[in-house]
Amino acid sequence: MVPGGASVPTISRIGPFRGSTTTFGALIGSGFRRYATYRQATIAGTFTNTVFGFLRCYVLLAVAASTAGGQPGGYDARQLATYVWVGQGLLSVIGIWGWTELADRIRSGDIAADLLRPVSPLVAYLAADLGRALYAMLTRFGPPLVAGAIFFPLHTPVRWQTVPLFAISAVLAVTICFGCRYLVNATAYWLQDARGPITFWTLCSGVLGGLYFPLRLLPEEFTVALWVATPLPSLLQTPLDVISERDGPALQAGLVALQVVWAVVTLGLAAWVQRRAERRLVVQGG
């Protein structure tokens, strides 16, 4: 590490800010290109997300149809459809599932090679993940949404700030999701095999993130507690509530602000865990 590096606002260990942003940009590009080679998997994944979109949308609409007033959890039918279909697209952008790269490299010992690079693994993986998300945004976000728009009436945003807020919220969701996945994978430093924590994460992130049903269908105190005490609703529930305009403008913006807090907390925690793990590796010799 660079001596006294802590006081300089750098994001990599090489030094000046300009150099770092170039490195960061290059890493984002590499993440983008790497996922661009998985074209067939992209098609397969899009198909699957669309099928699940139909399943979820029909169920929620059936609930709305038999609810008195037709607004379960405060969403009307159009808002529910928007919630489901934007969610099916956003799902692969934030990439909740399937990232075990860090855990695999820790298990196989390849992580040692990452530690030799002048960029911290956290920064390198974050950049690659942003590249991946960008690619997914361009390829996997649209198709389920189009399918949804063809078969169901969707809600069109009425406030000018909704779409830009959604964009910010999506980027924050990607970052928070990355921070969480990094933490989950990093348990492999101590457990050798992170399969358990990863399964646990897969389970909780889907349900408590708002994928299977809008969390607003739960008792209100419970939903608020989840939102404040865990980063999970910030993954999907927040961006989806933003785009479907479930709340008034103030709460809509407030939820995004809460995401900012969670992004800082999860990344900070990940950095701290990484430092602890490195120290441990150095002491124990891997």
Partner: protein, 266 residues
Amino acid sequence: MGELRAYAALAGAQARSAATYRWSFVTEMLANMGGTVFDALAVLVLFRATPTVGGFSLREAVLIVGLSSAGFALADFSVGNVDRLKTYVRAGTLDAVLVRPLAALPQLLLMDIPLRKALRVVLGFTLLGGAVVINDVAWTPARVLLVVLAPIAAAVFFSSIFVSSASLAFWWVDSGEIGSAFTYGGRDFTAYPITVFGDTFRGLFAYALGFAFVAYQPALALLGRTDPLGLPPWSGFLSPLVAGVAAVLAAVVWRAGIRHYRSTGS
């Protein structure tokens, strides 16, 4: 007999391997239990908002979920790991399997037997038991037989779906998540009264693929309800037959897949 002992030995080895990662095993097992709990909770959550969904009450819906999740958990426990076939094809593990003196499919299944999913099976059947108790079923010998056979038939059906969609990897190694659309998608589809789905979508999943006979039709037969979608009352008793047909098709697909693999390599 010798072969059975060999398979038993493979399963034992797998259990010992899993035991070396004790913490991961425990968390995975808990997570899997949680999965079943969440499946059931998701249904409860929806019924918080409304007394009926698709014309079915909560009690009736729980019976459908119970049948679906008992069957799915059993299938996932016994053959669910076959969805790792694409990894095996890519890594060449399948070659190592093919040079051993045992059949390929059982070996693959035993290579990574998901003991962690065992409790899920127990939970699934507990849910089903509870659902049978809370619904006033007018018991007849035929219904007693059906309540025993239906979850087994559901498990056979889901297993066939697992095997066929995994076999896709023999032709298309990069098939990625596409299999989940039918395995996990099928589970989600069967967990609800199929009256909630749109006509075309329902026609495809329920009747063309046969998912209606996993939970929905047997549940109607147990409850003695007429099908709002118009199938005759005895159609629920067809579920073992449908499962049998699915199993035969899956075996054909698997064999064709192995043959294709052997003629093209990986």
